[in-house]
Amino acid sequence: MSLADRLPAGIGDRLPEDDGDRALLLGGFAVALALVLAATPVAVALPGELFVFFEVGTMFVIYGILVLGLDLQYGHTGLVNFGHVVFFAVGGYTVAMLSAQNPFVGIGLGYPWLVALVAGVLVAALLGAIVGATSLRLRDDFLAVATLATAEIFHSVFVNFREVFGGNTGILGVPTPLADLAGDTDTTMLATLLFIGGVTAFTFAVVTRLTDSPYGRVLRAIRADELVTRSVGKSTFTYKMQSFVYGAALAGLAGGLFALYNGTVAPGYFTIQVTVTIWIGMLLGGASNHRAVLAGLAVIMGLRLLSRFALDVAPVSADAFASIRLIVVGMILVAVIRYRPAGIWGDPKELGVDS
C-alpha cells in the first residue's frame, strides 16, 4: 500500500490525491533514499534476522513489476499470457549478456550496465511484439497455450546453447552497480530494496495513469467485448498489441533489474514457477486493480516465506512438509477461482464474474 495511507492525516492532505501520483512521489522518495544510501558513506546495520525478509522483499518488488505488467495484459485487456516468464528471462539474459565481464561460460560483452538495461527492455518489448503479432488473434485459452509454448521453447534454447547462454550455469559476472556503490552488505540490501521498490512504485504510477485515462477505458472495453469496441471506432488490435508489448517491456525491465541485483542469470531463475506465482498473486488479489494484484502477490509470497518458518513447529517431516506446501498453494488457486473469482480485493462486477 502507498505511503500516504500510513502517514498522519495532516501530511496526507497535502499529498496528491490520486493513487498514481502518490506512487510517483513514493517511488521518487525511495529511489532518492536508495541513491543517498548507496552513494554516500552513510552505512546502515540491519538485524541479521531480517535479511531473509529483505531478500524476499526484493524479489517481491521485482515480481511486483511483473504482476503489474501481467495485470495490464489480463486484468485490463483480457489477454491470457501464460508465458510471462519468457519476457522476464529475455530481459534478464539481454542485460546479463551485454554487461557481464568474464562469464564462466556463455557470452559477456562488458558494455555499461545502463546501456544493457535499456537494451533489455527493448529486446523484451520486441519479443512481445513478435509474439503479439502472431498470437493475439487467437482465442483466450489458445493464446495461453501459444505463450506457454513460447516460454518452453526459450527455456530449452537457454539450456541447450551453452556457448551462448551458459547452459544451466547461466551467465555469471553481471555487474551489480548498487552493491558496488554501497559497499557493505547491509546497506546494499536496504538500498536495493528501496531502489527496485521505487521502480515498482514508478511502474505502479505509470500503469495507473494509463488505466485511469481514456486509454484504459478502451482496454477495459476490449476485455468486455472486443466487437463492440471495434464498432465504436477503436482499433482494438493496436490496443491489444500495445498492452501486450508494454507488459512484456515491464517484464524485461524486471528481468534486467533482477540481473543487476543478482549478479547472474540462469535458467533456474526463470521457470514456469515464476509465471504460476504471479498469476496466483494476481488472481488472489483481484485482477484489474493495481493495488489488489500487488497485495495478492504479497500474500502468496508471504505465505511461502512464513511456511518456511512454520516448518520449525510443524509435526511432519521436512520432506512431507515440502510437498504439503505445494499442495496448499495449488488448492489456494482452486479455491480462489471457485469462491472468490474476483480475488480478495477485486470487484466482481468489474470482472463480470459471479461471486
Binding site: P214, V228, R230
Partner: protein, 251 residues
C-alpha cells in the same frame, strides 16, 4: 449519389448462401426499414455492410468510397455505426463509461498523451464527459449512470446502446432490431427518437422483425427473402404486395 450503395453482395456459410446477389442503396437523409422472415439474411446483410464479416462477393460503397471488407472500426470512424440485435453492453463497465468510450478522436486514447495527461486530452475528455452526460440524460438513464450496465433491463440496454452510438455523431446509423424485447411504451419512445434523429438529417437503416412499428416509422421498406431482395418501396405498397404476404404467411 447514394450514401450507401450495396451491389451484388454475396455471403456463404458452409455452402449455404445467406446473402445472394443483394443490391440495395440508401440515399442521404433517408430512413429505411429492412424486413424479412427469420433467416432472410437481415443480420448477415448488416454484418457484411458494417465489416463484422467479410462478404464473399459484391461491393459496398459508403459516401462514394469502396469500403467492401473494411473493418468495423474504420467504418465507424468514417461515419457508419451500428447496433446489435442482441444488445451488446460492455457489462463490466458503468453506463457512463459505456457512453464515454464511444467519444471519437480522443487523444487520451494514445499512450503518450494518456501518460502526460496533456491539456488537449483533458479538454477533450471534459467535452466527452459533457456530451455523454447530456446523452445519458436525454435517454433518461441518468439515475443509472454509475451502475454497471449488467444491471440494466432489456429496454434500458437498447437505450444505452443508442446513446453510445450517438456519441459518434454518425452519418449512417444501422439499427439491428431496436425494438426487440422492448415494451410498447418504450418501443414508441425509441421510435420517436429514431424519427427525431432522422429529422435532424441522420440517415438511418432499421432492421425489424416486427412490422407495425417499422411501417409507421420508415420512408421506405426493403424486404429480404433467402438472402435476396424480394420487394422494395413505400411501406403501404410493400405491405400489400402478394409476395410479401406469402413470405410472412409462409413462415
Amino acid at each position: 449519389m447514394s450514401l450507401l450503395d450495396v451491389n451484388g453482395l454475396v455471403k456463404e456459410f458452409g455452402g449455404l448462401r445467406a446473402i445472394d446477389e443483394l443490391s440495395v442503396s440508401v440515399e442521404r437523409g433517408e430512413l429505411v426499414g429492412v424486413m424479412g422472415p427469420n433467416g432472410a439474411g437481415k443480420s448477415t446483410f448488416f454484418n457484411c455492410v458494417s465489416g463484422v464479416i467479410t462478404p464473399d462477393g459484391g461491393r459496398v460503397t459508403f459516401d462514394g468510397d469502396d469500403v467492401t471488407g473494411d473493418p468495423p472500426e474504420e467504418l465507424a470512424r468514417a461515419g457508419m455505426v451500428r447496433t446489435f440485435q442482441n444488445t451488446r453492453e460492455l457489462e463490466t463497465m458503468t453506463v457512463r463509461d459505456n457512453v464515454r468510450l464511444a467519444g471519437p478522436d480522443q487523444p487520451g486514447e494514445r499512450t503518450l498523451p494518456a501518460l502526460a495527461r496533456t491539456d488537449s486530452m483533458q479538454t477533450h475528455e471534459r467535452e466527452v464527459r459533457e456530451r455523454a452526460d447530456h446523452l445519458i440524460e436525454a435517454f433518461e438513464l441518468d439515475h443509472l449512470a454509475d451502475e454497471y450496465s449488467s444491471n440494466l433491463s432489456g429496454g434500458q440496454r437498447k437505450l444505452l446502446e443508442l446513446a453510445r452510438v450517438l456519441m459518434l455523431d454518425p452519418d449512417l446509423l444501422l439499427l439491428d432490431e431496436p425494438f426487440a424485447g422492448v415494451n410498447p411504451t418504450l418501443t414508441k419512445e425509441i421510435a420517436e427518437r429514431i424519427r427525431g434523429l432522422n429529422d435532424e438529417g441522420m440517415t438511418v437503416v432499421v432492421i425489424e422483425h416486427e412490422l407495425e412499428t417499422l411501417t409507421e416509422l420508415v420512408d421506405r421498406l426493403v424486404v429480404l427473402q433467402q438472402g435476396s431482395l424480394l420487394v422494395e418501396g413505400e411501406p403501404e405498397a410493400v405491405l400489400s404486395d402478394e409476395r410479401v404476404i406469402d413470405a410472412y404467411l409462409g413462415e
